[in-house]
Symmetry: C3
Subunit: 130 residues, 3 copies
Amino acid sequence: MHTLEINTRQRCELVEITADVQAVLDLNKVQDGIIFLMVPHTTAGLTVNENADPAVKKDILRKMQDMIPVNDGYIHAEGNSDSHVKQSLFGCEMFFMVEKGKLVLGTWQGIFFCEFDGPRKRKIHIKITG
Amino acid sequence: MHTLEINTRQRCELVEITADVQAVLDLNKVQDGIIFLMVPHTTAGLTVNENADPAVKKDILRKMQDMIPVNDGYIHAEGNSDSHVKQSLFGCEMFFMVEKGKLVLGTWQGIFFCEFDGPRKRKIHIKITG
Amino acid sequence: MHTLEINTRQRCELVEITADVQAVLDLNKVQDGIIFLMVPHTTAGLTVNENADPAVKKDILRKMQDMIPVNDGYIHAEGNSDSHVKQSLFGCEMFFMVEKGKLVLGTWQGIFFCEFDGPRKRKIHIKITG
């Protein structure tokens, strides 16, 4: 198992990690298999979405903020229940296919770490089966 | 890796692909393992839900449209930010268990390709490990 | 494949199953691999979230109820379309990494079965690859 570490800079932020994940794959030398990613946190997630126009990230985050605002009558005393709800909706794990040593992604797809309660130091666990 | 191709017909549509996925499994002859599905797009997804009463599909799509309407102050110029948000919430990949050469699904479960910005020609990548 | 059975007690409820999943892993004796979980229902799901403060579970369920109420003009006659929508948003499957025979989870993470249309007798299928 490998562990990536990233430092997020905003409370809510989508950080592209596609190149970091490919770099782990390059070290591992698996040519044909599945790569599994898992975020060991409860206020962050993973998603795949467009990495061409940065406006897409902004729209996703703004819409999530509208649907699930920070203050909304929550009882959990830490003030980040919205972040926990977002983690459950986005999910905290993803897998990707590996062919010829490369991540299989569509033309416009990037892999994003989803920070919902930053800024924080965060981890992403990676395991590859071939 | 196998790739299914489908043509969607509506802007938002749930297309059942259970039989298509089972057909790929039949060709592959794996009896015991895991089958991985991945949509290489950024405005579409995958889900499992009821395939008995077609009203369930309609209710899911109508509710998503209410929660995440097409026009909602988005800045991405292509006019499909709602579709990107829906992809992140539904997810673009799923795995299924394989036992005795068959997909393991519950009585009422079907696998659906989720079109959120059609009609388009779409792909679904499939990889099986046994 | 193993199958866990649980009895839920509320219409909407998050039931922690972390220890039950670890118990299946202990029986299987896989030291290094991936464990796959799948719920064979259409009105239930799986999630990972905080298992320390029970208020987090309550906030997640209350927010889901606000966003996706039971009565909301649905056409499906069984009166549980909200439950079907919640299944598609949460997802009905998750995988976890296994290292030294243990589930890889973050400090605050627990695995929860998500009941969205209980109380019912429910199943969770588990398959481990090593």
